[in-house]
Symmetry: C2
Subunit: 410 residues, 2 copies
């Protein structure tokens, strides 16, 4: 942009990182810092400790003087270096945030997170507009669930999808070596993108996962048993990918339904939600359901990938890391360019070679909305399409080499 187009405003900067951490959310933070520091008018760059909570408690870390090599190492480090928060601010909470920003002479606000975070940005931005206070508010997309509207995909997803793929690559070979029925439960209450990534582990026709169940498709227990029986009878083994959020046609989560069928008390959290994540319940219930119906002597095992999916050190997609960094840089560039606000969205402009562009979109377009797995990515009730494979392959990047010996079955 030419100098005449730039309308700078002097002031300090606040950056926050919200919601569940990812392997690349620090890339986005570093992208903002390295783009803004030293620019005319930019003062202190303040990291909000534990996101919005740090703002209202006036807890910040200064980021503008960190040497670039240390910033680069922070960018490569999993999880949110500033700390995160699950707080979902209402109007009054946002008002308190805005008061702190004003008092601290903050005119640039960046918030990396999911759709709740973009909604927080939206509310704070409206408050600043009402007050006639120039605050350049940018949301930076981040979620392993990949469930943000207007984005081809979100920073954080590629690395989590890589974890799921590599876990299934290994577990498929484990299941081949010691055959049986194996269930893996993957994060995703409403969106099946992460579970779908398990399909990338299939490299040979007999490879698992042989069955994939996502929350977008109503789960039917009888159909499930028939699926498992068919695969097991043919291949002598069966590897299954299941989203934690699978529900029956009445939207009752299967974790809850199977627990009740099997006579267990169902644990609920303080909001009355059944606890699904970080617990082996769904996998164990499905395993028991299989044994009860297909035979007690079957070797059935279940694993729940849990929190390992989002921050496993060393399992990072380089495309994901680069895009997360770029999203932070783009948000900072946009904020420098004038009195605007919004969210940064990733648009795909090519698949071979893979190319993306960043676009500014309105906060309201991404705020508090949820994307689910596109219809074209779902095959029948228990599989994922080649179209998804094409979509996800460049996001996950290079995978380990697998070479198998051929022998009968499996």
């Amino acid at each position: 942009m030419s100098a005449s187009e730039v309308k700078t405003i002097k002031g300090n900067v606040v950056i926050g990182q919200s919601g569940g951490p990812t392997n690349v959310i620090n890339q986005s933070m570093v992208g903002v810092v390295e783009t803004l520091r030293g620019q005319p008018g930019i003062g202190k760059i303040l990291g909000a400790v534990h996101a919005v909570r740090g703002i209202i408690n006036d807890e910040f870390v200064e980021l503008q003087d960190i040497p670039q090599d240390r910033l680069d190492r922070i960018a490569q480090t999993p999880s949110a270096a500033l700390g995160s928060s699950r707080d979902k601010p209402d109007e009054e909470y946002c008002q308190r945030i805005f008061e702190v920003l004003k008092r601290r002479d903050v005119h640039y606000f960046f918030y990396a997170g999911g759709n709740d975070s973009s909604d927080t940005c939206r509310i704070i931005n409206e408050l600043s507009n009402e007050a006639g206070y120039e605050l350049r508010c940018f949301h930076i997309p981040k979620t392993i669930d990949n469930d943000l509207m207007e984005n081809d995909h979100t920073p954080g997803y590629g690395s989590a999808a890589k974890f799921v793929t590599q876990a299934f690559m290994g577990d498929n070979l484990d299941n081949r070596a010691l055959p049986g029925i194996k269930i893996n439960v993957i994060m995703g209450r409403h969106a099946g993108f992460l579970t779908a990534a398990s399909v990338l582990a299939r490299q040979n026709p007999e490879d698992g996962p042989h069955l994939i169940y996502v929350p977008e498709v109503a789960f039917n227990e009888d159909k499930f048993l028939a699926d498992v029986d068919r695969v097991y009878s043919k291949q002598g083994r069966c590897l299954i990918a299941v989203s934690e959020g699978i529900s029956d046609k009445n939207h009752t989560p299967m974790a809850q339904r199977l627990a009740e069928e099997q006579g267990h008390n169902v644990e609920k959290d303080s909001h009355g939600n059944v606890q699904l994540s970080g617990s082996g319940a769904l996998g164990d219930f499905l395993a028991i359901h299989i044994k009860n119906n297909l035979g007690q002597s079957l070797r059935v095992r279940a694993d729940t990938f849990g929190y390992l999916q989002r921050c496993f050190a060393g399992c990072v997609s380089s495309v994901d890391a680069d895009e997360a960094r770029g999203a932070g840089q783009k948000a900072a560039e946009l904020a420098l360019s004038g009195d605007i606000d919004g969210s940064v969205a990733i648009h795909r402009t090519g698949n071979d070679p893979y190319r993306t562009e960043f676009h500014r979109i309105e906060l309201a377009d991404v705020a508090a909305k949820t994307r689910t797995l596109d219809k074209q990515f779902i095959e029948s009730t228990n599989n994922i399409t080649d179209a998804f494979r094409e979509y996800a392959t460049p996001l996950v990047g290079r995978l380990p080499v697998i070479e198998s010996l051929r022998f009968n079955r499996g």
Copy 2:
């Protein structure tokens, strides 16, 4: 060795891979194949499909003609390429194995596995001696549990320990970003080596795991609560590593004891063993135990690493891979060198720089015995010593870079 020392015998070769697969067991198989093929007298090199079961069913894959580049890719691939088995042959089963080996003119037998596998080798070797049939039997060590006698450590352990370390590096930062109490359950019914590896994730004084419980130390529920309460009060968070096999002072597994205390039915397998692995039970029971006693409003989560620990694609220690290959090569060299049998053991000859040697040991010295965590590696009831850290660091190898921002707490 000079030609005069070599006492070759003409014949075919059988290789098998037994028990739980690892990330490097194919390295050992490839080490045997590449060392033996083309040597005088060596005929076919037969891979036993699904270990001893493949032998008695006469199911083999020929390995001698596989091009080296493909062999190298197989070596890098997780899990047992030949398939594995949990069968623990008795005398009669071993007799059937021996009959097949004789009929197939096999004079070299290699079996990679844990202590049960070395016992199988031992029995088959005795049968061949009784029959006056020259069979050169070699056991190749393999186990992620690291529980074989006479070995400084075993092939397979380093890569699984690397997985545990990297999982904890990420989860420590996850727990720092969203503070709470987090329990991670790690494989190991009797030996705490894999759980102990979590200590390598601690790089700064406040890093987790803050508490580590191994099966070698009797677990006390009240002491556990006091430990958690103390760490949580001080740091506002608490990351806990627990072996699946932790038991109380009467040797009752905690998974069973807590299940009963909390009014659940305990699932047992056909041998009457409580199912511990691949299930979220112990972690969930510990989480409930904490909430029931320290407060229902606490954020307590549990993950069970499960099968991901042993074959996660791409999480391989290069030292482990090299040593697994070397163990296979050494076993093959020993078998070529004369009418001997035994197991290959890894001895450490230096730590800085790290150096190891392979030694031939007697099958009876490793067969059906279990090593547990050395006393010098255990600190009090809830921690692991610096001596262990020194021991395990070279086995795990290079770890991802971690760089944190300092802020209060965590």
